[in-house]
């Protein structure tokens, strides 16, 4: 709202004149500089913070990736010897253990991200569409749906840790003791099942966001479209395919991108679930890089892996934005 007012020239000018009557009396040049400079001045705090919070650490990270940074130098990392591209070459030698482990972790992360984002989107959209209809208790249900999103991550995930425990966990109690679906109690926090445990928690935590965004998107679709479609004899499925999903397209494009980036980089969930070192089957790249940096104290290699990850995400995001914007242009035509 504010942006719209500020962007339109006339009200903006009026505000400047009103708020500083002194300036109108001064030389014309000062007024112009003020008019041109003010937006930049207002942007300055954000720019400075952006610089400090993102750009400076990023540059430091890139410099670190070219250094031989181990425990011998962390106290004064500037003195660490240059390593050239050694850290990068270790990370991308996929037939050597470090590179092999990184590649494995990368594929685990891709599989995990695709499944998690897909399920989050599917459940979120289904719930949002379902909640469009008016029924008793809709408000309560809507609030309940948002609980996982509102809970502090640590508290939520640690509760899952208790539930996933082999001996006393609720999951095994239900699956094994009550429903008799498994021959014996399964391990969820170690071994191969860890992947599914991680996926479950991730989807549980992520779908309410998708639900929220899709629900907001649905509010913008005019009801007349559905009425007209219904008159033309379109069923629910056709309405969904022909009206709802195409109308949600811009919302979904942003939603999927945000979910992808969040899930791909998720550190909290695996770290709280598995601790400093995750089982092989759930070795997400964020924890893998953390392990390289802070557990084996190879900060240089960890930084190189981070830079590689950043490049990958930049390429994916760029390609995605390009594809989706091209799609939109075609649609506009």
């Amino acid at each position: 709202m504010t942006t719209t007012t500020a962007a339109s020239a006339e009200p903006g000018e009026r505000t400047v004149r009103k708020s500083s009557p002194g300036a109108a009396r001064g030389p014309r040049r000062t007024g112009r500089i003020k008019r041109i400079g003010l937006p930049y001045l207002l942007l300055l705090p954000a720019l400075v913070l952006e610089l400090l919070v993102h750009l400076v650490p990023m540059v430091i990270g890139i410099v670190m990736s070219f250094k031989e940074l181990t425990q011998f130098y962390i106290r004064d990392w500037g003195t660490a010897p240059w390593a050239g591209f050694d850290n990068y070459s270790v990370s991308v030698h996929f037939d050597e253990p470090v590179g092999k482990a990184l590649l494995h972790s990368f594929f685990v992360t891709i599989a995990f991200t695709l499944l998690s984002v897909g399920l989050c989107w599917l459940i979120g959209t289904a719930a949002a569409v379902y909640m469009q209809d008016n029924f008793v208790g809709r408000g309560v249900l809507r609030a309940l749906f948002l609980v996982p999103y509102a809970l502090p991550v640590y508290a939520a995930v640690i509760t899952w840790v208790f539930m996933f425990q082999h001996d006393n966990g609720l999951v095994n109690h239900v699956l094994h003791d009550q429903l008799h679906l498994t021959d014996k109690p399964s391990f969820w926090l170690i071994g191969d099942n860890s992947f599914y445990a991680l996926l479950t928690v991730s989807v549980w935590k992520g779908w309410p966001f998708a639900f929220l965004i899709v629900m907001a998107g649905l509010q913008n679709i005019p009801g007349e479209l559905y009425e007209a479609a219904a008159l033309d004899g379109a069923g629910l499925w056709q309405q969904l395919r022909r009206i709802t999903l195409p109308s949600l397209r811009p919302v979904n494009q942003v939603l999927v991108l945000v979910l992808f980036l969040w899930t791909f980089n998720d550190f909290n969930t695996p770290f709280v679930l598995f601790g400093r070192t995750a089982p092989d089957s759930a070795d997400l790249i964020s924890v893998h890089i953390y392990q390289a940096s802070f557990v084996t104290w190879n900060f240089g290699t960890g930084s190189a892996m981070s830079v590689l990850l950043l490049l990958f995400l930049l390429v994916v995001t760029g390609a995605y934005l390009l594809l989706t914007s091209r799609g939109r242009k075609t649609a506009d035509v």
Partner: protein, 437 residues
């Protein structure tokens, strides 16, 4: 306008300068007396909970304040966070004045240069190096260098066994060899009870046991010149023997593979497991409601014969060291505090509370440490314990090999075969994860 611009420019400059200095890390040589009246102390979590530690330490810190006028701000840090916290403090240069470290990390933290070296002059300020037991001094830093820390509490592993469960199973004496332990364990593993407890997902705990088994196989994880050597036959056999207690001998419950929060101590206290290999567990067991006379304490088994030096080593030299952060703003106060905590009187009080053994010779001879349980621990420390490798990459070794063993336990629990080849492969991967030299 000009004022706003000047203020903005000022803010940017100050922020950038702050960032630049923060990035520089703690490069100063440190150790001043700029704040002589306060100290920050990071204590490791020794008791059954952080609250119990605070209660134990508070009166002692009050005593120190009364004596010296120096106020000590205490923070008890859980073990799982301690190494990371120290590492962060090292990087930023903003750490506590005095801190506890696990003694096995001494050489690794020494290599960062963040801790004050204990040369002859510094030792003289706390009564001299000779006051401390040799085995405890063996875990204070790399050989040939001034120690990076001073021993505070000494501990050793022992075998804790449930007397009632042993009597019911018709076992008269605690096992002295692994073969006996396995035989006894099989008799005890029935009806929801198990012979032995373990912490399969705790990397450090895994390392401590693997180290002892390796010693008993006449093997080491590092060569004499400090190179990682995780795949030699002795080490592979040692790790396999340890994991086989669950995989082949089936005297450890599979669920123990995911234990990392001392759940095996609770299981023992509740009578779920009949035996426990633990270091100085008495205080912990008592706080969990197990009566002192409900369990017995025996030396950790060996392959054959009786515990001793060489291949009959049956414990690592466990313990906590006290270090001074090199960047301290109260060097004199920090030294006084170390002197206070390692004084005979405090050693008796604190080691008594934590049921550990004082590493200070004069305090160790006190009658309070002559109980049968302490006798086993003292004897082990004196005759059959060895210090973990004092190499700069010790902490990485703990994580890499400890995690490899965690994976092997996961295999055992999940019913996958644990073979010599699979053990060797896991250790090979761990070795390749070690920093290259």
């Amino acid at each position: 306008m000009r004022r706003i611009r000047a203020a903005a420019a000022g803010a940017v400059t100050i922020s950038l300068l702050t960032a630049a200095t923060a990035c520089g890390g703690g490069s100063s040589s440190g150790g001043s007396n700029a704040s002589p009246k306060t100290l920050t102390y990071w204590a490791s979590n020794q008791g059954a909970s952080i609250e119990i530690d605070k209660k134990t330490l508070a009166p002692e810190l009050a005593k120190f304040e009364k004596q010296t006028g120096i106020k000590v701000k205490l923070e008890v840090v859980p073990w799982s966070d301690l190494l990371n916290r120290i590492l962060t403090a090292t990087t930023s240069g903003q750490g506590p004045d005095v801190l506890n470290i696990g003694n096995t990390w001494s050489a690794s933290l020494q290599a960062t240069g963040a801790l004050l070296p204990w040369d002859a002059k510094n030792f003289a300020k706390i009564g001299g190096k000779d006051r401390f037991v040799d085995s405890a001094l063996g875990s204070t830093g790399a050989e040939g260098k001034d120690p990076a820390a001073v021993p505070l509490y000494s501990m050793a592993y022992a075998l804790y066994y449930n007397k009632k469960m042993f009597a019911e199973a018709g076992i008269a004496n605690p096992p002295a060899t692994w073969a006996e332990l396995i035989a006894d364990g099989k008799k005890l593993s029935k009806g929801g009870h198990w012979g032995l407890g373990a912490e399969g997902s705790n990397a450090s705990e895994n390392i401590h046991h693997a180290f002892v088994f390796a010693k008993q196989h006449g093997a080491d994880f590092f060569t004499s010149d400090g190179q990682a050597d995780f795949t030699n036959d002795g080490v592979v056999a040692a790790v396999k023997q340890y994991v086989d207690l669950m995989a082949k001998d089936k005297i450890i419950a599979p669920g123990n593979a995911e234990y990392a929060q001392n759940q095996s101590v609770s299981d023992f206290a509740k009578g779920k497991n009949a035996m426990l290999l633990w270091q100085s567990a008495a205080a912990n067991l008592k706080s969990q409601g197990m009566a002192d006379d409900a369990y017995g304490i025996a030396p950790v088994p060996v392959q054959s014969g009786t515990p001793g030096t060489g291949t009959n080593v049956n414990s690592m030299v466990a313990g906590i060291n006290l270090a001074v952060f090199r960047n301290t703003k109260n060097l004199d106060g920090a030294t006084k505090f170390v002197k206070f905590l390692t004084s005979d009187a405090e050693q008796k009080i604190l080691n008594g509370a934590y049921t550990s053994i004082p590493p200070v010779k004069t305090a160790q001879t006190d009658t309070a440490f002559n109980s049968p349980s302490n006798a086993v621990l003292k004897d082990t420390l004196a005759k059959s314990a060895a210090a973990l490798p004092q190499v700069a990459d010790e902490s990485q070794f703990e994580t890499a090999v400890g995690t490899a063993i965690k994976g092997l336990f996961a295999d055992a629990a999940g019913g996958r075969a644990v073979t010599t080849a699979s053990v060797k492969a896991a250790l090979e991967k761990a070795q390749q994860q070690m920093p290259k030299k």
